[in-house]
Symmetry: C2
Amino acid sequence: MAFDTSGRSPGQRYRRAAAVAWAVVVPLALIGFLAVHVMSDGAKEPLSQAGSPHRESPTGHFLLAAATVLVACRIGGSLMRRLRQPAVMGEICAGLALGPALLGQVSPEAAHWLFPASSLPLLDGLAQLGLVLFMFGVGQELAHVRMRGTLTRAVLVTHASLLIPFAGGTAAAVALLATDSGTGGVRPVVFVLFVGCALSITAFPVLARILADLGRMRTEPGRLSLFAAAVGDGVGWLVLAALLAGARGGATPGGLLFDALGTLALVALFLGPVRRLLRRLPALNDGRTADIGTTTGLVAGIAATSALTAALGVHQLIGAMLAGLVWPVRRRPADQVARRLARSAASTLLPFFFFFEFGLHTDLSTLRWDGRTVLTLLGLTCLATVTKVVGPAVTARLTGMSWRSAYTLGVLLNARGLTELVVLQVGYQAGIIDERLLGILTLVALITTAMTSVLLHCGRAASQHGPRELRDQQDRLDQQDQRDSVGDEGMRTGQPV
Amino acid sequence: MAFDTSGRSPGQRYRRAAAVAWAVVVPLALIGFLAVHVMSDGAKEPLSQAGSPHRESPTGHFLLAAATVLVACRIGGSLMRRLRQPAVMGEICAGLALGPALLGQVSPEAAHWLFPASSLPLLDGLAQLGLVLFMFGVGQELAHVRMRGTLTRAVLVTHASLLIPFAGGTAAAVALLATDSGTGGVRPVVFVLFVGCALSITAFPVLARILADLGRMRTEPGRLSLFAAAVGDGVGWLVLAALLAGARGGATPGGLLFDALGTLALVALFLGPVRRLLRRLPALNDGRTADIGTTTGLVAGIAATSALTAALGVHQLIGAMLAGLVWPVRRRPADQVARRLARSAASTLLPFFFFFEFGLHTDLSTLRWDGRTVLTLLGLTCLATVTKVVGPAVTARLTGMSWRSAYTLGVLLNARGLTELVVLQVGYQAGIIDERLLGILTLVALITTAMTSVLLHCGRAASQHGPRELRDQQDRLDQQDQRDSVGDEGMRTGQPV
């Protein structure tokens, strides 16, 4: 609190400052005097302080752990951005460093003191909420994608970007099965399809962020890769939902099909009637400024949808993405609330996910670096890159796109990022893949994501347009966007990935 | 994802919709075919699904619990707002209803199923983070207060609003000590000063919200009560910090004084150098739109400050309020980030606090309603109301304010609301008061808060200005405010209380 000193003489300011000081000091002095006075009486009585029945609160320690995680991830993200990599890479590395991989090796005492067992469930709560809200954001991003351009090319490229890596992944999985490694103990078909899924997923938010950073958002490969990634991710999560239903065990082939159909029915219900209902609610579409109740309602709705899908045997994250798909886009205040929620949640709560899942539970240091592991890692990385880059690029070239644009398109689709890591964690927790394959596929995801900007840079070196020119053009378009949407907070693509 | 259909013929729209359908259906059909094919092979192999090493995740259940808490609090808040009470009253009642007080009585099985022991630590994490961010918001509100008007009156009214209830509270505490009830087992002086503190606190955010609702924000009693409440809350939390240092036990009178001085030094460090440093950081004051890093940095800073004060033996919430006091106000983007954080955190995370602290740990149904309890409740309610309403009102009248304005001022200062409840929980957890006195003082806080709008309404009935007229005037001022701050999200006072 302070006095308003604008446009007053120094004497007036002084008098007002003195008044504030008096208002604070006199009560404090009186209370202090009273305290000392009463205390001299109180000291004569017996004190029973040792046995006081107060609950020990781990909150202070929890806050320290939370601050450590946030600061570490922020530093990691900044460092990676200096290296022209997505910030999310640095945040994941920071999360890994706080776990047994680095901090646990350097000083187990410090790790134990910083993150005592009592703090972990509290950090888990933040991580889970962050992940659910992140997946809601992914759903919203998908709902935002619009297709403009050549139809045939879009359909063919989408099929190529989805089916070729999927075929490669299933082939690799069959090979892994033959050497009897990697499966977490579920039906072989679930394992094979899961690995196929895992290799064919593109990280939609990473892609959008890279495109925005490079100034390619509105170019033909940019739009096309966004569309292909959106369709591919949608299909991938659908298949994953069916696989999880199958992985629960006890299901016959007929039961598996039944579960898959049930999942599809749920998705149809949400994308049809629920979506239409939300688009008609006046409170979400009347163009006014968002109020607080809408935010609370949205969080409650996301949590309820996730809980519903989890209860039906589908993973809760698929429910969260569904909620993102059906929540109205391009309408105020619905869009505004969702954007703010996805942004703030992603920035604040995802570091807890990186720490909790990658730092604590993905201990890459336990990976035995024998010949087979290295071979598997190299093979899967090559397979993932080649199928994801070459397939769509050749398809795009065949439909008439220039080689340069086709190459860019393929490279862009190869960024797997956080979405892939989430898929892997889901599969690991459902017992579909074992810890070793989780570690290897995590490394594959990190490598292919890091590769994207390097490969793009190589392609750009041979370009006729300098990067500066492209970026300037995009800047002008962005500024126009911002003028169009005063009151919105930044671009969609400002979302962390 | 969808096609952009604006300005196209129905035929084109149909072709585009068909293309999207093809892009999704063909891969799904192929994968399904493959699945059935591989499955018929896989079924011949032995399945080891029972022993799959997957971790059981309580996340689905946790999300269900979270959705329940949010929806219940939202319904409670809406109902209370219909009754012209602050929404926070309804949210607290909803939190109480979900605990053993109502749901536990009606159906213990449902309560146990909805909130299993495994979900509670996760909910606790959200509650603690919400509370810390709420206290940061309180600090920011205090930092926003500017004094305009009569100096002498401001100082005198502040003293009266602080010292008269404090004196009343200490007298009541001495009486309670004489009947040997209420103390949690700490030194009597700590108990006496704590009860004094508890009765003299005004809920600053509740006050701001009531003033905005009634259209009194810019009137003389409105401004004066905001100033008095800000100074009073600041002093109250300082005293509380010193008390908590003393309640830790093992301290001599000299040690208590030493701890209090240490707390004051910490506060001085933050309000002086740290505050000046933050006001000079260009990233916080350059007027640009807030980016995501600033939000993460702010959350990390709040958590770190809270952890620091907790480590020094002062409660973590005092650290959070300190962070709110030193974070720059009225500068972009610092102000924008803080406002968004305090708003979204308060709306989304505080219901978890209401559920976790009030629902689960403040079981009012265990209060034995014998004569002494009823007498204590009535006595403390009367004492709290009379000292808080009459003292400042008479002082304001003596300095020349009209009786009507003086009455309004006193009634406004009597709203204790959430801040008081937080203080009580802090005192209970430190072992200063016992469960019975916690229940009684919680009821006192709820009653005095509910009383405020009723008493204001009574006062207004005798007024020369109709409420509609006052409200219209405030509406015009508010609209002007909103035009001045395009891009900011709503009024400060839109914050939940």
